[in-house]
């Protein structure tokens, strides 16, 4: 897994582009990044999963923990994902209903705030 975080935000949203395989061996790095971003007051996060070809339950758990912390701080964590392989995993776990999943970073940042 690789993570890329551009220096500049997109409309107040911080974009984290992940690539490769997010599994129990690599997810801790993602958790660390997201936790420290939220701690540094980046409460509006977009995790771009377009170049991710595998995610396991640990990776999903990291996203769940981060969205909880972001929302607790009045922010959100949104996902960009069009890969049917990954979408299926969000679907069967019900997590597709937890996250705003958009087809592009632009769509993710402009999505309406959802009532949770």
């Amino acid at each position: 897994m690789e993570l890329e975080i551009p220096d500049t935000d997109t409309d107040g949203w911080t974009v984290i582009a992940a690539s490769g395989e997010i599994d129990v061996a690599t997810a801790p790095e993602l958790r660390e990044q997201l936790t420290s971003l939220i701690a540094d007051d980046h409460r509006q996060l977009v995790v771009d999963l377009e170049d991710v070809d595998f995610i396991d339950s640990t990776g999903l758990g990291v996203l769940v923990g981060a969205v909880r912390r972001a929302r607790a701080a009045d922010g959100d964590l949104r996902l960009v994902c069009t890969n049917s392989r990954l979408l299926k995993v969000f679907d069967v776990t019900g997590l597709g209903d937890v996250f705003t999943i958009a087809t592009s970073v632009d769509d993710a940042v402009s999505a309406p705030a959802t009532e949770r």
């Binding site: 599994d23 640990t58 769940v64 209903d97």
Partner: protein, 144 residues
């Protein structure tokens, strides 16, 4: 029937090897369809990462053993660990995705995922560990 057996050290960085082996074996003739290979990769990752974590408390150095049985009508993979064992029926259920409490749970998705991704799964205590056996059916051959 052909069988492939893989033994790995109980270390999480070996999971990528396991995924590769199992998916490559399942893609041999007659291959599982691509979407079922995805199901298999994830189910095996979940079962294997549980197996590896189960070795930890006792610092067991024994390998985790992965066995693939390639049958004409199904692909079977079993994962054997030397951990303390557990009762799969006693696991707490996760709250529904629409329940705000769902977000309190960052773990506990592995076994539910295995159950939906495979056609069959059994958890057997094996004396000094656990054997998790998963089956994915192959689609019937097209009529001639």
């Amino acid at each position: 029937m052909a069988e492939i057996r893989l033994e790995i050290p109980p270390r999480l960085d070996y999971l990528a090897v396991v995924r590769l082996v199992v998916a490559t074996a399942a893609a041999l003739d007659p291959p599982l369809p691509e979407s079922r290979l995805d199901d298999l990769r994830l189910a095996v990752t979940e079962a294997c990462s549980n197996a590896i974590k189960a070795h930890r408390p006792e610092a067991v150095a024994d390998p985790v053993i992965i066995t693939c049985a390639l049958e004409d009508d199904r692909f079977e993979v079993s994962i054997r660990d030397r951990g303390p064992g557990f009762d799969p029926d006693a696991l707490r259920q996760l709250p529904d995705a629409t329940d705000p409490k769902r977000l309190q749970h960052e773990s506990g998705l592995g076994i539910p995922l295995i159950k939906v991704l495979t056609d069959d799964v059994t958890f057997e205590p094996a004396g000094d560990g656990t054997i998790v056996s998963m089956t994915l059916k192959r689609p019937p051959a097209p009529p001639i």
